[in-house]
Amino acid sequence: MLGLGADLLWADMNRLLAFLFHQGVLDEQFLQLQQLQDETSPNFVSEVVNIYFHESEKLLRNLRALLMEKEFSDYKKMGIHLNQFVGSSSSIGAKRVRNVCVAFRAATEQNNRAGCLRALEMLEHEYCYLKNKLHELFQVK
């Protein structure tokens, strides 16, 4: 009985993971993270992902604060935040978030405020989606 339940849960998780890969939300790097998890480091993936959430939310707050400034002109600082965001997203395999960050970064390089605003909206949306899905994934575990 217990075995069957666990099997179904396992299948659910795999199904969700497969879906996320198919949608391009996650990429191979996420698998690499999973491979690094073992008995000696049983919570590795969730630890890393939690750090990612924490850092990402800080970055998003900073980005929004910068863009909302009346006298906003600090595109360079936005670029620095985005470099960090690109790097961390890349490191955990958050492909779609990473791609939006790259597009956002391009907008900052063009000093395109409207473009930056649009990109920020998209980034916040993508990030929320990713966070929800990852929470779902970890619940199954």
Binding site: L36, T40, V48, E55, G87, S91
Partner: protein, 246 residues
């Protein structure tokens, strides 16, 4: 077996990103290395025992008076893009230091910029890894760390050990074959390694070149022709591979 008698290699990992520090630490531990992580180049230099005094001449580092340096560092792996001291700056300082210049340095970067890669390799970096770094990348580290351990040995001793390790007749030029992965071939004479697990273990010239191309995909070797120094151990040799004569 001989594993218990080996001293572990110790890697100093430098990265300003917490996530990347966690990752590299896990990767290194999984590869059985001892790891210390720091978040900046200046902290790395401090750990290595090099102090910089801002008051006097900032470009003449000296050995920290309180540094006992009980822990030997066999390799430094550093991110390129860091605020303050970049990975390149750190590399330079290490290579300019008489006490540290023999420590192999590896650079990591999320960006594939050939001029950047070349600059680092020219400055003395052993490898340049593109992020995210994979376990397979780390397999390239061991020969560099072993080379450091050998630095003190005289050439003659090294040649004697090579004789012990060689199981077949060797030509003048030889190649190292790692148990996990193949390295740049120096000569055309390839000798059969005993490789249990790896499917690409058969060392035909074609496959050597293929794996070479694969290896070059994400990282570069400093000098192909330089080859790798002979493997040696104070314990029994683990590899059936042939040592190279530089």
């Amino acid at each position: 077996m001989g594993m218990a008698a080996e001293s572990q290699f110790h890697v100093l990992a430098v990265d300003d990103s917490l996530i990347d520090r966690k990752l590299i630490e896990r990767l290194l531990r999984t590869s059985s290395y001892q790891v210390t992580t720091v978040d900046s180049g200046s902290k790395a230099l401090e750990f290595l025992g090099l102090c910089e005094n801002d008051e006097s001449n900032p470009s003449t580092p000296y050995v920290c008076p309180n540094n006992h340096q009980e822990v030997e560092v066999n390799l430094v792996i550093t991110d390129y893009c860091m605020p303050g001291m970049t990975g390149y700056d750190l590399l330079k300082k290490i290579k300019e230091s008489s006490s540290l210049r023999n420590i192999p340095v590896v650079i990591m970067s999320s960006e594939n910029v050939p001029s950047r890669i070349n600059r680092c390799l020219e400055e003395g970096a052993e490898e340049f890894f593109l992020k995210p770094v994979r376990l397979s990348d780390l397999n390239k580290l061991k020969p560099h760390m072993k080379k450091t351990k050998l630095k003190d040995q005289k050439q003659g001793t090294v040649e004697k050990l090579e004789d012990l390790e060689v199981q077949q007749q060797q030509p003048q030029q030889q190649i190292i074959i790692q148990n996990e992965q193949q390295q740049a071939p120096k000569s055309r004479d390839l000798l059969q390694p005993e490789s249990e697990s790896h499917p690409h273990a058969q060392p035909t010239i074609e496959q050597q070149q293929q794996s070479l191309q694969q290896a070059n995909n994400n990282s570069k070797r400093k000098t192909m022709e330089q080859g790798l120094s002979p493997e040696t151990d104070r314990t029994r040799p683990r590899y059936s591979g042939i040592a190279t004569v530089v």
